[in-house]
Amino acid sequence: MQKMHKTILGYVPEASPLYEVHPFVRLYFLMVVSIFPMIIGAPEWNLALILVVLVLMKYGRVSLSTLKLYVPISISMGMLILLSYTLLGGIHPEFHVVFRILGFPIYYERIEAAVEVYTRILPMIFVMVLFLSTSRERDVLVAMRWARIPFTVTYMTAMALRAVGMVIEDFSIVRQAEKARGFDPHGKSLGYKLRQFVMYIIPLMALSLRRSEEFTKAIVARGYSFTGLKNVKRPDYVLSKYPFRTRDAVLILIITGFLIGILYLRYGLGMLTLEGSVTQRWLRQWLLGGAA
């Protein structure tokens, strides 16, 4: 069997070429590229962005079955957006009515807006999935440390990430302990379930309090003080294992270049907007028969 790396979201082969890329570049990619859909209004370009991300996933040997998880979420989100823009969108006499459901008008403008919003959100999700399935917690920290974020901050982040893992584990044991005492949530009222839910907080707090006490002792015993040691420059062994190569710099430049390019196209030349996009033309043709 192939050796796999456990990432935040599933497993990726250790030989994935994306590991060659410095963690900071990956984090930069996440932060910058997920802005793109906010700038781009034209649905076809956002769909193209999804295609780019898919190609990157394929290239990074991310198992595309991870995405299956998101199919139901994506569909239900799409339905929700469509519903809230159309049925719950109110009465607007100035809009074009496409058809009526039980006498309630469904406007063309609303459908168009829903499509725009939806195609903006989708690529953001894809970018996020790409990042999470190719990065481990450690990569996030390395990226932060590389960006010269103070050690205390990255350390706190690490502890927070660590604490989340512990709480999730504790949570499942506490739930089992409740069941072992005959707690059966089936067929109980929502209020009852909520009250039981609040009860989890007591053992979870107790556990984290006791842990944090031991935890503080453990890090003090290993010479760490949050104020920093006098005259000691903290070396970064871990970071030294992640050299930042020329290629990484080039990638940063390329990503930044795309950002500037998109900004220019959108705000300098007024392109990439919904207005005048292929999708809009097509939608009009289909829903209004070119009437508007």
Partner: protein, 282 residues
Amino acid sequence: MMKPEPYVVAENVTFRYPDGTVALRDINLRFAEGDFVALIGQNGSGKTTLSKCLNGLFKPTEGRILVDGLDTRHTSITKMAVRVGYVFQNPDHQLFNSTVWDEIAYGPRNIQLPKAEVEERVREAAEVVGLDESTFEQHPFFLPKGLRQRVAIASILALRPHMIIVDEPTTGQDVKQSLEIMDFLTRLHEERGHIIVIITHDMPIVARYARRTVLMAHSQILADGPTRSVFAQTDVLAEAFVEPPQITQLAQRCADLGFAAGTLSVQEMLEQFRSLAARRRA
């Protein structure tokens, strides 16, 4: 003598975690009236998974477990909780109420007993574990660890399960405290007829208290029988990376002199020594 009716029957039980790891492989096991069992084996050998299957927290992927004639796969949590009690290793995972009284009453209230009955059971359970009334209004969080463990046991006892599984009752206790806990479990067993199962790494405790021992390794049962005969199977123990108590090891190394491989206590060793020495003098 009539063979006691088994209370729990596990038939060809296999358990797979959602990620595909096999934690139990084709387990067949019975627990009957009068059983005081030690479940031993390395970490990760499947002991905890097995015991969580026995009280219905986990459902077998294949095979079935019958408890008191009920199939755990189709039996509600409430019905299981009054039959098989499970005491978790860390008391902090199982204390979720703000007073000791509410903690012990939590189980009986979950199974919707009338108020008077709840009160009766709380008092009884508290008495059995030796908690006096002054602790009833205290917050379990602030009690010392030994007492927290007692509250945890009492809160299981209040459900009056016939079988009680205790996960590592002696971890973190000194020897004297360990003996106290074990003596207490023995009383529950002898005076109140509970079937007791302990999960433990403490071999001297096993030798001293458990009449029967189930040895697990690699998700399977390697040996199951009277503690004496399980500890006598040196090769099987070695395969499971388990060492018998020191006195048993001594007897086994001197087996050629006439010592029994299943020697469990210093007292037994002394008796054997004396009869062997007498025979030699004769």
